[in-house]
């Protein structure tokens, strides 16, 4: 087993949202990311150290969001037009369950140590809780219009959801599934990330091209710096020092200093980048939707260090926590 105790006990549970990933600080360089390709209807597992595509798993049509269980054994993928969530057995590398969920499930996160899912429903304007074993809906709460990305702070018992067509951030209390606050943001909030110290939520606003910085203590927007054209993905480095924003229209990655909130660099990384994840303080992975690739970016040198081809139309990615179930690279990764 290579599961790290620090990861298992991390106060901040896995923050996969299906749209963005805020890297938890418990591990240095996670070796595997899972990438969902919309046109190709597949999920690729990529070893980011060797840049090898370890597996490409077929899923139902037009997948959008993706999230990983905290033990890395399962991935969950949303399919908005099918009203479907597919569940992937990572060890077996295949879809092992399909759940009909709501009307247009889009953003997804995993809570309760993998036992429950939280899913945004774009056309029902709701956040839905689902039993990860059975697919049964166990609760829902009305939020803003066209909810997209979400991020969870389980230690605080909250989910934060970007209500794209309402230009708001909904704050939902998890135990009671109650919407406890509505925070105005920029125009068309889409993706979001939680700072490692859990004091801020960063919200990427697609139409206004800026980043709403929301204080989790005060539940107000405290700043809104411009970041670039059509920001579609956001992540934070493990040390909290850099906010990473993928600007889809200009093909750039904006590196934002968390203290000054200034864009300190914005290299062009490819064609229509979207989902992004911080792998460590020094490295990030992002998908290039039109380039059908994942890029690895060195954040210190501010340059692309690898381009890895994936199925057509990659939109999102998530870090796959190590759990020993990958199977392909040695005995130490035998299934538990």
């Amino acid at each position: 087993m290579r599961l790290k105790p620090a990861l298992a006990s991390s106060a901040i549970q896995l923050l996969a949202t299906g749209l963005v990933v805020a890297a938890s600080s418990a591990w240095a360089t996670p070796p595997v990311v899972a990438v969902v390709s919309q046109q190709a209807a597949s999920v690729a597992l990529i070893d980011v150290e060797t840049t090898a595509v370890m597996a490409t798993i077929a899923v139902p049509r037009v997948p959008a969001g993706i999230a990983a269980a905290p033990n890395g054994a399962r991935l969950f993928v949303t399919h908005p037009d099918l009203g479907l969530i597919s569940r992937i057995d990572v060890g077996a590398r295949r879809v092992d369950a399909r759940f009909s969920i709501g009307r247009e499930p889009f953003g997804i996160a995993i809570i309760d140590a993998g036992r429950s899912l939280l899913v945004t429903d774009w056309s029902a304007d709701a956040l839905i809780r689902i039993d990860a074993e059975t697919g049964a809906e166990t609760g829902r709460v009305a939020i803003g219009r066209s909810p997209a990305g979400l991020v969870v702070d389980e230690a605080a018992g909250r989910a934060y959801v970007a209500d794209r067509e309402s230009d708001t951030l909904s704050v939902v209390e998890l135990t009671s599934l109650t919407r406890i606050a509505v925070v105005p943001t920029g125009r068309a909030p889409f993706a979001l990330a939680l700072s490692p110290d859990r004091e801020r939520v960063y919200v990427a606003n697609v139409r206004s091209g800026d980043l709403s910085v929301v204080s989790t203590a005060r539940l107000i927007e405290v700043a809104r710096p411009k970041v670039g054209l059509m920001p579609y993905g956001v992540a934070v480095t493990a040390d909290g020092a850099r906010i990473l924003v993928s600007n889809q229209q200009s093909g750039k990655l904006a590196l934002v200093d968390a203290d000054s909130l200034a864009v300190v660099a914005d290299p062009r990384i490819g064609s229509y980048p979207e989902g992004i994840a911080a792998l460590s303080n020094e490295r990030a992975a992002a998908v290039n939707w039109a380039g059908d690739e994942v890029v690895l970016v060195d954040l210190a040198d501010v340059k692309v260090i690898a381009r890895i081809g994936v199925g057509a139309g990659p939109r999102n990615l998530t870090i796959l926590p190590e759990n020993g179930s990958m199977g392909a690279t040695g005995a130490d990764r035998a299934r538990p």
Binding site: V62, D81, S146, E165, L229, A290, G313
Partner: protein
Amino acid sequence: MLQRNLFALAFLLAGLVCAAAHGPTPQKADESVTIPAPPEHVWALIAAFGGIGQWHPLVLKVEATGGDAAGAERVLTLAKGEITEGLDEADLAGRRLSYRLSKENIEAIPVSFYTATIEVLPAAGGSEVRWSARFYRADTSNFPPDELNDDAAIAAMSDFLRRGLEGLKAKAGGQ
């Protein structure tokens, strides 16, 4: 074709179609051409945001405001109606324009929103021009008629880019 059934979000809230309100399933068109003329010469034709009518055979008339900088707008008259595009970024050093559809007209071109990028790169014997667009079909409900579905959108956008590049080549080539 798989894309026939591809999803686009039903943001037909109260029957209103909101440009840029889309969610998960964008489509792509990507065309390129090699032109036997220097990059700066080809770029000069493209960088004049209101000058597209000088080289694009499907653009019958252009009314432009705001010059060639971000924030500029151009109203293109096509065979079946007008569309309006807004310039978001003019990267002079990179010879690259990024713009978006700011006022749709699905009679003129069957897409509900797009962003597009056109850039000029040095190439052997002259220039390579790459033109790409990311867009959504005209009818974003789950059951669009054939003329408003993903295939129709891809065909129309690809044709617009391809014929534009042919026109650009004819205008710039060899001069």
